[in-house]
């Protein structure tokens, strides 16, 4: 008797769920869900400010609620691979080995916005932006240049009064996308860096001290005369840190800006093959205005969505982000994708299928 009752209850539940599903697929364009969370995501901390703005704007417009936990790119990739979240987010592309381990099948990389690293410094007496080349940055961060008045720095900054004090290198101690972009840039632009140190979210630094987070590096540089470090563009802008001008591939000294970063993406986007999976690096990009230490940040989604309702919601959100979302990026010091590239990425989003799902 009891078993019968249970079975009847379960049947009822299944029937209800089915009805819900068919309702929301037929009327999905106007559907607003009531209460609860529709999609969950986890990953990168770097784009968290812009993502949280997107999620709240999107919820206000469509009623679709998205819960995002900024636990770091590594955690985002791990959770996506285990299928405990609906989407992941990362500052560095997944490796082939990581892609192969993802339990839900092929993973698409959807570039959303761009970020950049800036070189910040504390040199008493220097007022104009310090000019540096990739070779000089590499020499400072490997300890080959030890003093601020080294001729290699002085020859780039004629007229600046450089002190004879020691240089203190400050780098990130925690694994981070910021370090990945910085070392990716130096590996691309300076062959000896690639051979000795390489790129990664954490590398073996030959000199200097490690500080946790952008705020740790910035705090240490601000506190210590003679210090130099790297932080994210958005963080540096919002805290008015001194920013060095970096010489790009075209030989121009460029101070990082949202426009310079988008220019770098446009420079690379022009030469992209049609079938790109967008796991691409844009450091050291060509173009006179391009700022060379910049990178995409990605949302990670499965190409084959198992849940039709969630899959549809996810695709709708991605399309919204790539059109309306991009417009609000500069207000938070993130560079939007170049417009023609955003259109191509949307074509990529269209390859996500959820119709054949169970």
């Amino acid at each position: 008797m009891r078993a019968l009752k249970l079975a009847a209850l379960m049947l009822l539940a299944v029937a209800c769920a089915k009805e819900n599903a068919s309702n929301s697929t037929t009327a999905s364009s106007t559907a607003t869900s009531s209460g609860g969370v529709d999609l969950t995501g986890a990953g990168a901390t770097f784009p968290y400010p812009i993502y949280s703005k997107w999620f709240s704007d999107y919820a206000a417009q469509t009623g679709v609620k998205i819960n995002y936990q900024s636990i770091g790119s590594g955690g985002g990739i791990r959770q996506l691979s285990e299928e405990t979240v609906d989407f992941g987010a990362s500052d560095s592309p997944m490796s082939d080995a990581e892609m192969a381990k993802a339990k839900g099948g092929p993973v698409l990389h959807i570039p959303t916005v761009l970020g950049a690293d800036v070189v910040t410094y504390n040199v008493p007496g220097v007022t104009a932006p310090l000019k540096v080349t990739p070779d000089v940055i590499a020499a400072i961060f490997t300890g080959t240049i030890k003093k601020w008045n080294d001729t290699r720095i002085a020859s780039l900054n004629t007229g600046a009064s450089l002190p004879s004090s020691d240089i203190l290198v400050v780098h990130r101690s925690d694994g981070s996308g910021t370090t990945y972009i910085f070392t990716d840039y130096l590996s691309t632009a300076v062959p000896s860096w690639k051979a000795s140190i390489g790129k990664g979210k954490e590398v073996k630094w030959p000199v200097g001290i490690g500080a946790k987070g952008n705020e740790g590096v910035a705090g240490q540089v601000k506190q210590t005369p003679g210090a130099i470090g790297y932080v994210e563009l958005a963080y540096a802008k919002q805290n008015n840190l001194p920013i060095a001008a970096v010489r790009n591939q075209a030989g121009q000294f460029v101070v990082a800006s949202v426009a310079g970063v988008t220019a770098a993406a446009a420079g690379v986007a022009r030469s992209l093959p049609e079938n790109t999976d967008y796991r691409i690096s844009i450091v050291n990009a060509p173009g006179a205005d391009s700022y060379p230490i910049s990178s995409f940040t990605w949302l990670l989604v499965y190409q084959h969505q198992k849940d039709a309702i969630k899959g549809k919601k996810l695709v709708d959100f991605l399309n919204w982000a790539l059109t309306d979302g991009e417009k609000s990026a500069p207000s938070l010091d993130y560079a939007p994708l170049p417009t023609d590239m955003a259109a191509k990425v949307k074509a990529r989003v269209a390859t996500v299928d959820f119709s054949g799902a169970k």
Partner: protein
């Protein structure tokens, strides 16, 4: 007859009461035993989980995880010896600074302090334990480190000429083993002083009176009668402080400089095991990297066990010498 049956009745009732209380005792006993076993079971479960996760790294790299000094994630080398060294040295510095201070506070509060001062001072010292460690870290970055860099370090190195020894040589940037030791000392201090104060106050009055009756001054009474009596308790307090220092993560990460290198100089930056895990865990995607971090955690677990074992042995041997 009646008296006999009354006796029987009485005996029955007595047995009933006895049996009832026996049931109550059993339930109570089982409950407390469950509580007592739950906590050790939790510790064992955590240890098993950590060691299981660390196994792949130990299998591949062996003990080089704690003996090698090459920590290079990109190159696949995981040698955390500098972090082991940093954990032990920073905790040692902390104890060297905190122990005399904390015992001084405890002796003052239990022996010399006027009654109206005892409560507020004791409360404020205990309050040190309630400050979140990230606040200590921020204070370290903005107050302690500039002070060390501009005043204390030049004084130690140049004015006292300690720079001639390897322990205070080299450039002084601020974030250093010394800074970590000082922060840890402040954090361990309330634990040591609170326990010491309690055990000193628990020393029986007769012990003090006997010393005074033999003609001891107040200072001699404290030194020869009160402190030795409380010695094992004070050592227990020091070990509690040491445990705090070994495991502290956030504040140390913010001031130690996070440099995986063994240096004799206390002015040089260093690293600790807890900081290493805190720094790299969230972005570790590679399996071996993750397992190596777990192995560092497992090693910290073992080191803490060893240190605790030494502490037990110290307390035990102190107690034995006193008994003689």
């Amino acid at each position: 007859m009646t008296s006999l049956s009354a006796q029987w009745l009485d005996r029955d009732r007595r047995r009933l009461i006895l049996e009832q209380s026996a049931i109550g005792d059993t339930i109570y006993g089982i409950l407390t035993a469950a509580c007592a076993l739950f906590v050790p079971a939790l510790v064992i479960a955590i240890a098993v989980a950590i060691f299981a996760a660390a196994l792949p790294a130990f299998a591949k790299l062996g003990l080089s995880i704690v003996t090698s000094s090459n920590w290079d994630v990109a190159g696949g080398h995981f040698g955390a010896a500098p972090a082991v060294f940093g954990t032990l040295v920073s905790s040692a510095i902390a104890l060297v600074i905190a122990t005399p201070l904390a015992i001084g506070v405890a002796i003052f509060l239990s022996e010399f302090s006027p009654a109206w001062l005892r409560q507020p001072v004791g409360f404020l010292v205990d309050l040190l334990a309630a400050i979140p460690s990230v606040v200590y870290g921020l204070w370290g970055i903005f107050v302690l480190i500039p002070l060390l860099r501009e005043r204390v370090m030049p004084f130690l190195r140049d004015t006292l000429h300690l720079g001639a020894t390897p322990f205070f040589s080299g450039a002084a940037y601020g974030p250093s083993m010394l800074a970590a030791g000082v922060i840890l000392a402040i954090m361990a201090l309330p634990y040591i002083s609170a326990v010491s104060r309690e055990v000193l106050m628990a020393v029986p009055r007769s012990q003090r009176e006997a010393a005074l009756a033999l003609g001891a001054t107040r200072w001699e009474m404290i030194r020869d009668a009160v402190v030795p009596y409380a010695r094992s308790g004070i050592i227990g307090g020091i070990m509690l402080g040491l445990g705090r220092a070994l495991g502290e993560t956030m504040a140390v990460t913010m001031v130690i400089g996070n440099r995986p290198e063994i240096s004799a100089s206390l002015l040089a930056p260093g690293y600790t095991m807890a900081s290493l895990i805190a720094n790299e865990f969230s972005e570790a995607t590679n399996d071996l990297h993750l397992s190596a971090l777990m192995a560092v955690g497992a090693s910290l677990f073992v080191i803490t066990l060893i240190v605790n074992g030494i502490a037990r042995w110290l307390v035990w041997s102190v107690a034995r010498t006193r008994a003689k």
